[in-house]
Every structure is written in structure tokens, then in C-alpha cells.
Symmetry: C2
Subunit: 333 residues, 2 copies
DNA sequence: TTGTATGCGTTATCAA
DNA sequence: TTGATAACGCATACAA
């Protein structure tokens, strides 16, 4: 039989409320009964029932993570794993559990989000991707449910978020290239409506502008997906422009495709920079220079942000910016 | 305000118990009241509270996954991700949620396991790694808590498990090498006390035996960790033996280390086979032949096994064997 | 400082 | 076929 708070109360000759107070470390309880109760707890090996607790105080200490709809991403993109790991570490530290939903389509993703919230299972939600005019954040805001997004939401003042400074991250990459003497720097991005995509593109343009290099639309390509194929085809578009000397991308997978295509064409004098520092990037030939976005820290901060706000910490921060790091490798020439 | 079963009952002019019966599709309920109640549910947009439900029937529909203690594994080893994905897919299909614990040490892992069980948060547990004389399975059995292991437990009759046939998977690899003419085939494994390691080693020996090749202890190395470094040092040990022509390993990471070392030594006439078909394996130079263990399917089956048994399905299976597949690539010469 | 009583939102038991 | 009510295990308002 499961031992409950009643058993402890009986054993310690106190009321269940007293036991409950001892458990929650209530200040107004005498040292003596405290010890007394602790003894009974130990003797009976009592463990509070998390579910009953949740029902009583309407808090589950479970966080819900919504993994983005494109399930394949999750396998090939360590961003999600690292972010999950970061979240998990902070959550565990604070005695929270994490559950999550995988979904194949956006529609199912919405359904999962609603289910998990309506069932009262989670205290808050973390979104790992945010797009322009994002339906999920809109929904969460409409029902006033606690959540944080990893990425930049449309309305940054009204939403909890953690993010890299993608503008300056890309700005720095482009500026490094310019310092190396590059003037014709191509840009390849994908999924243009992600705010992350937009920011990296802005960083690109800003760096050009600040260095008095005119923006050339003909060496900018926006693709639909973060996959190698897109990189390959983008590469071909860019090569129409003979004098290009460098290409920056918003994702390593795109950069992989570009490198593949350049190799086919026997071109080895174009500088390539990826984004996200995926494990494969170091194994490219030549190894791909890239930007580490510190996914672990993004996840960790996201959990911290959410939990602090759930627990109503005064002056709780409302967002974090996580540093990025340029990883220089041989493709950066 | 949250709408509860009481509100629905009031709206439909029935008792809460009736609403509850409608919800659980109880047979003895008239079509008329059923419709009536459904209408009220829709009108009020009522969603049952999962926590209250859990408390009432002592089932949470949450599964706990214990990720192995070595956190770094989880990042580099897509096995865990794929397995999690498989589990998630089946769980979602059956309206279960999954939560998990990451741990840095075995000790903390045990604590997490106990916490998650004692708090009554999960209905069952999935273990993603099992070793000889496994403490976790022993604990779970001692308290008679539902669980399944991915891998081979010591007492297969008494435990729910899913597994590859690691013996025959490695047997097939070695036999393929023998058919190619190899006679001096080295073996490199790690973490000898994992049953998985043992089985692959047995497969190796059996294949030699059945092909009348004498077992040579001097070309067998057991290392401590599944990392590249161990592969490199193992390689050096094996090369003492000049006439070796092939090396099988129990993990791709080990194989990577071996290939690295061989390249340093300018040796390119030794056949190498990895295990687990990690993404990097295809990107080695030459691409690494390996064995795909179908982690997704392992996870999927594990969840299926656990849920079926939790729900007391009659004749529920007590284990699954998931097929492996040899992935032939250029390192297989 | 402690105890009593009640509520949290369901399901299950027992009667009707 | 339906309703009233206890029970699930804990937290907390109110009393003492």
C-alpha cells in the first residue's frame, strides 16, 4: 500500500495539515514537531504524491516543449537536442519535469499544443521556433498562458523570449570577410519568414552598408528549406555572377550543399561560412567555418526564464540574449 | 474560469457521474443523454482535467524515459534521439505523454528514477541502456513497477524488453568479411559489461568458430568508452599484429578513431566496419560501412510494449526483436 | 503553533 | 439508465 500524508500524521500524532506544513517548510512550526514529523516520514519512507499536489495547488511542475513540425529537422539538427538538454538541466535543478510534443504537420502541432494546455498537464510552454505572424504565440497570448519562445517574436515587449543577436552575429561574419578583402559576398538563406532568417539577412545588409559596399540583389538567394539541395541550386544561381568571392549562409546544411556544388565545378577559391556549428561542419572538406549559436545555453535560459516567471520572481527578467561564437575553419579564406 | 465537469452536468441537467460516463463511453447510457451531454460539452468547450483524472484513477498516462548517465553520449549519439522519437510517436498515438531524466552520474540517475516513480508521476518507465547486474532493473523489479528495457536484460523471461539480435548482427558482419577472404579479423569493443557489448562479441566469436577460424585473443581489444580516442589506441594495439586485414567494432565512434589512426599511418588496406550507422559514418573518408540498428523502431516497440502491458492487453507480447541492416560502404573492402 | 474542515476535478461505488 | 456521494492525496482558510 502507498503511504500517504495521513499515515505520516497518524505516526507522528499530528494533523495532516501539520505534516503538509513541515513538507513545505512553513516558518510557523515548532522545531520539535518538525523533527517529530521528519522522523515519521523517514520511518514510513513517505513520498508526497505529485499528482495530488498538483490538483490541490493547480501546478504540475511540468513544462511542455513544442518541437517544430518538421520532424526530420530534429534528427539532423542538433540544435533541438542541445536546446532540450539545456532546458532539462535547468528544469531538473528546479525540480521541474519536461514533456514535449513531436508533430508531423503544423496542424497537428497546434492540436498538440492545445491538448497539452487544456488538459492542465503543464504549467508553461517553450516554443522552439517562431515565425512571422506566429499562430502558436498568438494562441498562447489569447488565452494568457505562460510561455517563452526561443527566437525573436513579432512583439518582443509582450512576450518572454531568449535569442541570439542574429543581426550582429551575421554582421560580424560579413565584416570579417570584408576585412579579409572580400567585396562580392553572396547571401543564401531559407524560410524567409522566420524572424531568425530576417535578422541574419539584416545583419548581412548592415555590414555591407557600414562598409560602404553596395547591396547587390543578384547575389542574394532565399530558399524554401534548410537542406543541402537548396544550397546546391542556390550556388548555381550565385555563380551566374562570376566575380563572387565569398558566400555566407544562414545554415550549415545550405553551406554543405554549396560546397558540394563548388567541388563538382572544381572551384576552390570562394570563402564559405555556415551557421549553427552542426557536428558535420567540422567534417566537411575543407572544414566549414560557421557560427555557434550556443543552443544549450538558449535552452537553459528559456527554462530559467519560464520557471522564474511561473514562480513570480520579482523583477524576473523577460528575455535573455545568448552569445554566439564565430568558429573559424579552413573554408574561411 | 476553468470549466469543469460540474458545469457540464449543470448545463446538461444531469449528474457529474453521467457526464463522466459519457466521456468514457460507458455502454449503459441512453443515446439521448449522450447527445445531450455532448452538446453541453461542445457549448462550454469543456476539456477534462488530466491531473484530476490521474488522481481519481491512479494513472497519469505519462511514461518516464531514463536516459543513460553519460550525458555526452546523448549529444553525439543519434541512437537516443531516434529511439526517443520512436517512443514518442507511439505514445502520442495512444495519448500518452513522455517525460525523461538526463543525469550526469549513475548515482543521480538512480535518484531521478526513484523520484519520478515515488512521486507517482509516471505509469511506467523505459530504460535505454542495460548492463550486467543492472541496478535499475533490479530496483524496478523489487518494487514491481512496470518497465521495459531497450537491450538485453540478464533475466529475459522476467522482464519486458526490445532488442536487436546483436549476436547475429555481428555474426553477419564477420561472415561477410570472411566471404571476402579475410582471415585475420580484429575486434574492438567498449564497456564490456553492457549486454549489448557481450552479444556483439559472441557474434564475432561464433562466426569465426563456424568458419573454422581460430579465435586469436591478441587481436581483440575491449575499451572503456565509446569515443574516438579509444579507437585510436585500440588501433595501435591491433597493429602489433602485422597481418590483420579487417577490424570490426561495436560502435562507429570507435571505428572513426581507428580510421583516423590508420590514415596517420598511411594504411589503407584494412577493412573497417562500424556499428549504429551514425550520421557521421557516411561522411568518413572512406565512408564507413556499419550496421543500422533501427533505433526508431526500437523506441517505437518499447513504447508499444509498455503501453500494451500497462493497459493489460491480453496476450500482450513481452518482447520484440528489431531487425538490423548492414550498410555497405567503401571502408568495407 | 496546531487542528478542523473543505476544496481541487475526476472516477467509482452504491442505490434508486 | 441515472444520481448522490465517497474517494483519490494534498494544501489551505479559518478556528482554536
Amino acid at each position: 500500500m502507498k503511504v500517504t500524508i495521513k499515515d505520516v500524521a497518524k505516526e507522528a500524532n499530528v494533523a495532516t495539515s501539520t505534516v503538509s506544513r513541515v513538507l513545505s517548510n512553513s516558518p510557523k512550526i515548532s522545531e520539535k514537531t518538525k523533527e517529530n514529523v521528519h522522523e515519521a516520514i523517514k520511518k514510513l519512507n513517505y513520498k508526497p504524491n505529485a499528482i495530488a499536489r498538483s490538483l490541490a495547488n493547480n501546478k504540475t511542475r511540468i513544462l511542455g516543449v513544442v518541437l517544430p513540425e518538421d520532424a526530420d529537422d530534429i534528427l539532423n539538427n542538433p540544435f533541438f537536442i542541445n536546446a532540450m538538454k539545456g532546458m532539462s538541466m535547468y528544469a531538473q535543478k528546479k525540480n521541474y519535469y519536461i514533456t514535449y510534443t513531436f508533430s508531423k504537420t503544423q496542424q497537428i502541432e497546434r492540436k498538440h499544443l492545445k491538448d497539452i494546455i487544456n488538459s492542465n498537464l503543464v504549467d508553461g510552454v517553450i516554443l522552439l521556433r517562431v515565425s512571422e505572424d506566429d499562430k502558436n504565440t498568438a494562441y498562447l497570448r489569447s488565452i494568457d498562458f505562460p510561455f517563452v519562445v526561443v527566437g525573436r517574436p513579432d512583439n518582443p515587449e509582450e512576450v518572454l523570449w531568449v535569442n541570439n543577436d542574429n543581426i550582429s552575429a551575421m554582421y560580424n561574419v560579413v565584416e570579417k570577410l570584408i576585412k579579409k578583402g572580400h567585396r562580392k559576398i553572396g547571401f543564401v538563406g531559407a524560410i524567409e519568414n522566420l524572424n531568425m532568417s530576417k535578422d541574419r539577412f539584416i545583419g548581412y545588409k548592415n555590414a555591407l552598408f557600414d562598409n560602404k559596399i553596395s547591396y547587390d540583389e543578384s547575389i542574394v538567394v532565399h530558399k524554401d528549406e534548410f537542406i543541402e539541395n537548396e544550397g546546391q541550386s542556390a550556388c548555381n544561381e550565385l555563380l551566374q555572377n562570376k566575380d563572387i568571392t565569398a558566400i555566407v549562409t544562414t545554415d550549415d546544411l545550405i553551406a554543405f550543399g554549396i560546397m558540394k556544388e563548388l567541388k563538382l565545378k572544381n572551384i576552390d577559391n570562394i570563402s564559405i561560412v555556415g551557421f549553427n556549428n552542426t557536428p558535420l561542419s567540422a567534417y566537411q572538406n575543407p572544414p566549414l567555418a560557421t557560427v555557434d549559436i550556443n543552443a544549450y545555453e538558449l535552452g537553459y535560459s528559456a527554462a530559467k526564464l519560464l520557471i522564474n516567471n511561473l514562480e513570480g520572481k520579482e523583477h524576473a527578467k523577460r528575455h535573455y540574449i545568448v552569445d554566439t561564437e564565430f568558429i573559424e575553419r579552413e573554408s574561411f579564406i
